[in-house]
């Protein structure tokens, strides 16, 4: 899972439209990640076809997306993988510091 996919899934824990998603991602990542519209729509189109997210309804001209059960599972799997990686890294780096 790419960084863009991870953050889009995170942001879609609450249903949102494209522009709101971009703001949410920027906020969640403390401004570190400013997702461009090309990247965002590429990720949305792909995750929709992979059934990780789904279209809820259209609010005027804007489409609202939400995460699916499969999407949540994928997100938790990725979260656990990343947490394991951080823990592993922390353990090794702490050992290095003790020496």
């Amino acid at each position: 899972m790419t960084e863009a996919m991870y953050y889009v899934l995170l942001a879609l824990m609450n249903p949102a439209h494209g522009y709101r998603l971009m703001q949410e991602i920027q906020s969640v990542s403390n401004g570190r990640l400013q997702m461009g519209p090309g990247t965002l729509y590429g990720v949305l189109a792909r995750m929709q076809s992979d059934k990780l997210i789904q279209l809820v309804n259209e609010d005027g001209r804007r489409k609202i997306y939400r995460i699916t059960k499969e999407g949540e599972n994928a997100l938790y799997l990725e979260y656990n993988r990343l947490a394991d990686m951080v823990n592993d890294g922390k353990m090794m780096l702490d050992k290095g510091t003790e020496k």
Binding site: A4, M22, M35, G36, P37, T39, Y41, G42, A45
Partner: protein, 407 residues
Amino acid sequence: MKTKELVRKYRHIGAHRIGENESWFADMAASGLHLSKLNKIYAYFTRAEPAKTLYRIDFIHPNSATEPDQEEIYLENGWKHVCTIKDMAVYSSPASRKAPEPHSDLAEQPHSLSGIRRFYRNAGIACIAYYAAIVFLIYMNPLPSQGLASKLVSKGSITLLLIGAHLIFGIVFAIEPVVHLRAVIISLGNGKSIDHNADWRKRERYEKAKKGALACIALLVVAFNYKSSAASFEANIPPGLAGAMPISLSEIEAGAALERRTDIGATGIDFQNRVSQSWQPLAPISMQICEHIEVKSEMPEIYSDYDAGLYCSIYKARFLWLSKLVAHELANANINQAGFSDQYAAGLAQMSLDELYIGHQAMQCDIIARKGKIVAILRYDGEQNPLVVINAAIGIFSWEGFAEIAR
């Protein structure tokens, strides 16, 4: 109300060349021509004040127009939708605005290229399948001799050359977008973004050269066909004119009473006794002789009459190497009695030929001879001794009529 002037420009650069297209649109805008719309052949520009403008191409939604939702998000990020053609959407932004790049995550961008990559891959496969079918048809085509070199000196070689050139260009053109897109995707995977300032002029020159080469091939084909039709002929073999033909059955069957067997068609050509010459780009002389006679026996009480036939093809190749290749190909395809020519090898030098291949069986003698650029293949059906046929074949190379045909 003053209408805006629309300027049309031919699109030399294919859609797969993303960076070159973007830099072309940007340079046009800098010169006062702002992209307005696109079709498969042309780009239309509106004349206005020159402005430094950035253009970005995206392929997010295959086979559909850009969705309003997407257009809005692009707009909120500083990118205005200009036009969409098929699955290629173009956005622009004033350079001074410094809008963030639409594709902020390069690892994600290859996915947006999967549609166009699939399109070019399928088109490439279809083209290669088409060319493979042409190659198959060429080899199924019953040309008078076997092997590529033999075909190049035979009638139809113009078509063969055209198809060959067409094949090479076609395959290069078919695989180029796929190879390029693959390189772009690898480059994106390595964290290197698309070059938005790619040299479109260089690409345009290449595309023009490509089209020029195709036009040259077409012109050559027209010129070759014109020359070929002007320098080719088909005629009945003139009876009883010594020296009128490079070889004739009357030389081989000398002394016997002869009666020509004829089969005259609607065009007045005697299919049993005809000579044809066709000019080919790689063989100025490509001559076919076909002759049939009935040989009357002088002693009918002992020997019966028999039918004799002669089929002869004579090629004067443009190049010596080609004539050597033709001789070897014809020998491999037609002479199946290996070692038969050994008994004549000693006399080869006196015969003043460069190569001689002989196959002999009852009532049939096959000879392939080469002297310099001239190659002759002949089949004699009759009762005469092979040495007589060889002598007649040697006579082909001293025939004076070749010079006249070559003129």
